[in-house]
């Protein structure tokens, strides 16, 4: 009496070589690209798994072989490749099993079915992983691109702010020895530093003795801003000039008092006009009307 599944062992070499030939013969398949030797190894592995599982009554070897196969061609395996493998193996094995006992034939059918299930499951899992990796790479690329855009926007914004700061801290010589600095917008530490630098240079260049800082265009003048002006004033004084602070509104004056800021070291005035008058007086000058009556002047 013949041993169970003896026909498989008998057909082993033929099955493997025919399967390898089919795998290698299909144009465009991942198996053909991998070469004949790989196709032979895959075919021999699957037939060996069939024999092992037939002997053990389990599906473990087939399962392992299929998992290894999907893993081996990770990312490159197409569904059509898997389909070609499964249909080729099935047709060859069932042809070889044509004379086998019905029970053995059914067992082989079940084994092939399990093989397809495992292959499909691993294929889907592999593809899912590939999609996830692609999606992650895409997200990273998008984030990098957004970051680059933000960096460029930030650099542009910084440049514009610098332009605005430069433009909003003009130092205007209004008369010999008198400079006027009309401040517009927020007055922060960075701007105070810029003001001090520009002012000290301008004092040197213009040989100025009076600097009038007009803060009527500064929306918020708090204790910190006052401290910054006092420091600027001290620096101005070191060059032998005097800083007049003008443009204090009643509200700002009240705030400064409430905050307890001591502006005693600063000469403060209500308006730019008062400041200019005071500055002229300091230089022993005054604004006088041009007398242009009949018979006088031109």
């Amino acid at each position: 009496m013949q041993a169970a599944f003896a026909w498989i062992e008998h057909e082993r070499a033929g099955l493997a070589s025919q399967l390898a030939e089919r795998l290698a013969g299909r144009a465009g398949s991942v198996f053909r690209s991998a070469g004949e030797a790989t196709c032979t190894a895959i075919a021999e592995g699957l037939i060996a798994a069939l024999i092992a599982d037939a002997a053990s009554g389990k599906d473990a070897a087939g399962r392992e072989a299929m998992l290894a196969l999907v893993q081996r061609f990770s990312g490159a395996l197409a569904y059509a490749d898997l389909r070609h493998l499964a249909t080729s193996l099935r047709s060859l094995v069932l042809a070889a099993a044509s004379g086998a006992e019905p029970g053995e034939r059914q067992r082989v059918e079940d084994w092939l079915f399990q093989l397809v299930l495992v292959g499909a499951m691993r294929f889907v899992a592999q593809r899912e992983q590939t999609f996830q990796e692609q999606a992650a790479r895409l997200e990273v690329r998008q984030l990098e691109s957004q970051l680059e855009e933000l960096k460029a926007a930030f650099a542009e914004k910084t440049r514009l702010l610098e332009v605005i700061r430069q433009a909003s801290t003009p130092v205007a010589p209004v008369h010999e020895g008198i400079l006027v600095v009309p401040l517009v917008g927020m007055f922060d530490a960075q701007r105070a530093q810029m003001l001090t630098e520009r002012l000290l240079n301008a004092i040197g260049e213009a040989r100025a003795s009076v600097v009038i800082v007009d803060i009527s265009g500064v929306p918020l003048f708090d204790a910190e801003a006052a401290e910054l002006v006092i420091r600027t004033s001290q620096a101005v004084r070191l060059l032998g000039a005097q800083l007049l602070l003008v443009g204090l509104s009643p509200g700002v004056a009240q705030t400064i008092v409430d905050l307890g800021v001591d502006l005693a070291s600063l000469k403060t005035m209500r308006s730019l006009q008062d400041g200019i008058s005071h500055a002229l007086a300091l230089r022993q000058l005054r604004i006088a009307p041009v007398v242009n009556g009949p018979g006088r002047g031109r």
Binding site: A27, G28, S29, V30, S33, A78, Y79, A80, D81, H84
Partner: protein, 173 residues
């Protein structure tokens, strides 16, 4: 991008239909055509095939692979077809003839071969000059046009967009 050295021509109607498939991206089409030196495509004239293929690739570069597949699919889904082409096998078999209706005058313009492994799968080898994702879209369009839910996969063995001489597409439906 592969080119023709034999001075082939490409049917303006095909290029026009592709641009129509882009639908809402009018600004993009305008920009690409302007870069290519024209204001619009005349569907009744023939264009230098290399110029036409450059237009395809310029658009591919701007819209990406997924959108290119979608445009190819839309092109076929809405294109007028002769009566009788009502099953996926006939449509796939007819792709080479359709391609040849849109190219002329060159010996190196390539073609499309189609083989069926069984009733539910086919293998198509394309050696045409257009971008690979457009071909995938065209195949998907052929299948969806007749209601076949198909899976189109790029086979192993090289891709024309990466310097290969042909692309193989494995179609399961």
């Amino acid at each position: 991008m592969r080119t023709s050295r034999s001075g082939g021509q490409y049917n303006g109607a095909a290029l026009y239909s592709f641009l129509l498939g882009l639908g809402h991206s009018e600004a993009l089409v305008h920009k690409v055509l302007q870069d290519a030196g024209v204001d619009s495509i005349d569907p009744k004239r023939w264009y230098d095939i290399n110029w036409a293929i450059e237009v395809y690739f310029a658009i591919y570069e701007k819209i990406g692979r997924g959108a290119m597949i979608a445009v190819g699919k839309k092109m076929i889904e809405t294109a007028p077809f002769p009566p009788g082409l009502d099953d996926v096998k006939r449509l796939l078999m007819g792709l080479d003839a359709a391609y040849r209706l849109n190219v002329r005058g060159g010996a190196d313009l390539g073609g499309i071969t189609c083989e069926f492994d069984d009733d539910d799968s086919a293998r198509l080898v394309w050696s045409t000059l257009g971008p690979c994702p457009l071909n995938i879209g065209i195949i998907e369009g052929c299948c969806s046009r007749v209601g076949a839910a198909a899976l189109v996969e790029h086979g192993a063995g090289g891709c024309m967009d990466e310097g290969g001489s042909s692309c193989t597409y494995l179609v399961s439906f």
